[in-house]
């Protein structure tokens, strides 16, 4: 059992570290607002620099501009970037999810047109999946793409929780192309240019007052025939690929968001010692125990990845632990430091405001527990009333029930 790098990994890590040392001066600040045009431009330029140095899209195959390495090397790069206190790529969604999605399902033309600018930060991407009525039940999306006589598509609908929508160049859109078959058989994935006519983007302000994600409205948007990714009617399969890639980040991501036992302990340590009661110690001990556990769960996952295994749904349990431990930490830190901490300008105030939403991001806890219970433990499912029913009929039943 060895937490250390192999000799090859160690020398790779050193090369990455050396590169970061050489280029650190070019990096913008880690914290900044993408509403600030200058900061956004700096982050794009830094992503280009990272891509040129082989620090972006570490697992992307060489023929698509990446170093073609494995998940361990990606983690090494993420760790070194964190340690160097420089930002990572601007477009995590594009580089981590949409790019790999295109690599898996896109046509040669799509890959050729999009992957280069995506990797280099010239074109940022957003994910157009969830809708107001289709988050947990993603296959129930209602945004509609209708095939026209000339082979183009007409798109109408609405998406929600669209991170980076307001400066993205393209979005990966899950839309309904056939309402007369059961819900997940009638879906198609499309590439949508975010500057197309008929698209309206509206920020959704969160608890902390910032609008880091958006609603996006599609009104008679025209899409070319070559916008389809993975074939008409195969949208659900393409979506599942993206959701699988999401698990890699969720399973290994907590510490990158600053949810670390040592950091929270430092925050408590800096509060007046009179606040360090037995109850406070036990609360800190419990949440720190959980965060230390998920750190080692991450190491176990890396070991499996190195052995060629793909993370299963149980990876979602690490997210439950991490988010709930971070929530407990926020509660504790605000208790020992007082209400001044709640200011969104304060790093913990921001975290406290951000966490309730994060708890649902990537899947609510209830859905996650259902999925793990059923797919990992083999527990029986609840009766489902929508299996095999044409989507059109599902929606009319819903309308009747709520009329």
């Amino acid at each position: 059992m060895d937490l250390n790098d192999t000799p090859e990994q160690a020398s790779y890590r050193q090369r990455i570290r050396d590169w970061l040392d050489d280029h650190r001066a070019e990096a913008p600040a880690v914290v900044g607002s993408v509403e600030d045009a200058a900061y956004l431009a700096d982050r794009r330029a830094w992503q280009r620099r990272l891509a040129e140095g082989g620090l972006a899209g570490v697992t992307w195959p060489a023929e698509h501009g990446g170093p073609g390495l494995g998940p361990i090397e990606q983690v090494i790069v993420d760790q070194e970037i964190g340690a160097a206190d420089v930002p990572g790529v601007l477009d995590g969604i594009g580089v981590g999810l949409m790019g790999p999605c295109l690599i898996a399902h896109g046509t040669e033309e799509q890959k050729h047109r999009h992957l280069g600018p995506l990797l280099h930060g010239d074109e940022v991407w957003c994910q157009l999946f969830s809708e107001p009525s289709a988050g947990s039940d993603l296959a129930a999306v209602q945004s509609r793409a209708v095939l026209q006589d000339d082979g183009t598509w007409k798109l109408d609908g609405q998406k929600v929780w669209t991170t980076n929508g307001h400066f993205a160049a393209f979005g990966m859109m899950l839309a309904r192309t056939d309402a007369d078959v059961p819900k997940h058989k009638g879906l198609t994935m499309f590439i949508v240019p975010m500057d197309a006519e008929g698209i309206t983007i509206r920020g959704l302000r969160q608890i902390h007052g910032e609008a880091e994600f958006n609603e996006v409205f599609f009104d008679d948007v025209e899409l070319p025939s070559d916008a389809v990714v993975g074939g008409v009617g195969n949208g659900w399969g393409v979506a599942l690929t993206v959701l699988m890639f999401e698990r890699f980040t969720i399973g290994l991501g907590g510490e990158a968001l600053g949810f670390k036992a040592e950091r929270f302990a430092r925050a408590v340590a800096s509060a007046p010692s009179s606040t360090h009661t037995d109850a406070v110690l036990e609360r800190l001990g419990d949440l720190a125990t959980d965060l230390l556990a998920v750190r080692f769960t991450g190491f176990r996952m890396l070991t499996s990845l190195a052995q060629g295994q793909i993370p299963g749904p149980e990876a979602g349990l690490a997210k439950v632990t991490t988010v709930n431990a971070a929530i407990a930490a926020g509660e504790l830190i605000a208790d020992v430091h007082g209400p001044a901490v709640l200011d969104p300008e304060n790093e913990f105030g921001y975290m406290i405001s951000f966490l309730p939403g994060l708890k649902s991001a990537g899947g609510t806890e209830a859905i996650l527990r259902n999925t793990v219970g059923e797919r990992v433990l083999g527990l029986p499912t609840e009766p489902r009333l929508d299996k095999g029913i044409p989507f059109r009929e599902l929606k009319s039943r819903e309308r009747e029930a709520t009329a």
Partner: protein
């Protein structure tokens, strides 16, 4: 980065499972509740498997293995609720081996059975004293006291609920000298002034005793405070491993019942509240497993983190078993609270384990103390 078990570790685990499977430990656990003499003597099994010498160096007759191997075996005994006296034994072998003591060979071969009287070191960056589990009440008792002269000492004091003490022929302990310095000693259990009073335990798979010393003669072991502290944290990690092992059967039985028991026309596992409670067992168990890796790894490779890791393992595994043992009963409804089912055995194991060797809550506080002490260090 490689957290996979080595082939030797896999083999050790399988051999332990195999050896324990030959004993009807669950039936024995039931029988022992009514009649303690029914508790099987698993010492010969442990000796046959080479467990007494596990962490004793090869040159002193042992297997020369490490903390992680010990935890893997402890996990298997926990899974079977088998009363193998590892919790008292292995920390004693750790201090005896560190002292290169003359008893090592006899201990490794199983001729002599030592038991360590656990003593909790001060938390870092505090001026807390060493302490033992109190005889009465759930708090801390004063550490044993020693009058030292050269290589021998005379030891007095009392420690409560010492695991595996009944029938041990050798005791290792930490005692505080008149000048306030902790020393490590070894005491013949048959010596004058040694009183080992077995305590009837709610968990009949455990053998416990209060140990009272009244000017008992002892030999001083030449080990420093780090070793004495390591013995405490080793005990934390061992009880965590036992607890982790016991969670798996709770999960398995809950899943099986939830699949086969029907109500209102469908299996009870299809109801979210039951499904989610069972998934919670899995989540806590998986966390506890990760912490076992932390404890096992740090025990050998990062000893300066062992106090944190072992305490975290204790906290995580303790919470996992406490939850799992109750969830097992909840899922089974009324029948889970009767002897028609094995659930009460796991419940009793959880109840007692969470209060031994400092207790689960104390371990949680210790995690906080370790992190706060590190936070204070510039």
């Amino acid at each position: 980065m490689n957290l996979a078990l080595s082939d030797e570790q896999e083999f050790l685990k399988e051999a332990a499972q195999g050896a324990l499977a030959r004993v009807a430990t669950m039936e024995a656990a039931r029988a022992a509740i009514e009649d303690e003499s029914q508790r099987p003597n698993l010492w010969p099994l442990a000796v046959g498997a080479g467990w007494p010498g596990l962490v004793i160096a090869e040159q002193r007759g042992g297997a020369g293995l490490g903390i992680f191997e010990a935890l893997l075996i402890a996990e298997e005994t926990g899974r079977a609720l088998a009363g193998v006296p590892l919790l008292g034994l292995l920390p004693a072998t750790l201090v005896l081996d560190a002292a290169r003591d003359e008893t090592c060979e006899a201990v490794a071969s199983g001729e002599r059975r030592p038991v360590h009287v656990p003593a909790r070191p001060a938390a870092r960056a505090t001026d807390e004293a060493w302490s033992v589990d109190a005889v009465t009440g759930g708090g801390r008792g004063a550490a044993l006291r020693a009058r030292v002269s050269g290589g021998t000492a005379v030891v007095s004091g009392a420690a409560g609920h010492v695991v595996d003490a009944p029938g041990a022929d050798l005791l290792t302990a930490v005692a505080v000298s008149e000048s306030g310095v902790p020393i490590c000693v070894v005491i013949e259990a048959a010596a004058e002034g040694v009183l080992v009073t077995p305590v009837r335990s709610y968990d009949a798979t455990r053998s416990l005793a209060h140990v009272t010393l009244d000017d008992a003669p002892a030999r001083v072991l030449p080990v420093d405070e780090t070793v004495m502290a390591r013995a405490w944290y080793f005990a934390q990690a061992l009880i965590a491993a036992e607890s982790l092992g016991a969670v798996q059967p709770c999960l398995d039985m809950s899943v099986a019942y939830a699949q086969e028991r029907f109500t209102f026309g469908r299996p009870i596992g299809s109801y979210q509240s039951i499904k989610h409670e069972i998934v919670e067992i899995l989540r806590l168990m998986d966390n506890a497993r990760s912490l076992q890796y932390f404890a096992g790894w740090s025990g050998e490779s990062a000893p300066e983190e062992f106090a944190l890791a072992a305490s975290a393992a204790r906290s995580g595994a303790g919470r996992a078993l406490a939850f799992a043992s109750r969830a097992l009963i909840n899922v089974h409804g009324g029948i889970g609270a009767t002897w028609e089912h094995d659930a009460p055995l796991f419940f009793r194991r959880a109840q007692v384990s969470s209060r031994l060797v400092g207790g689960t809550h104390d371990a949680s506080s210790r995690v906080a103390c370790e992190l706060l002490a590190s936070a204070g260090t510039p």
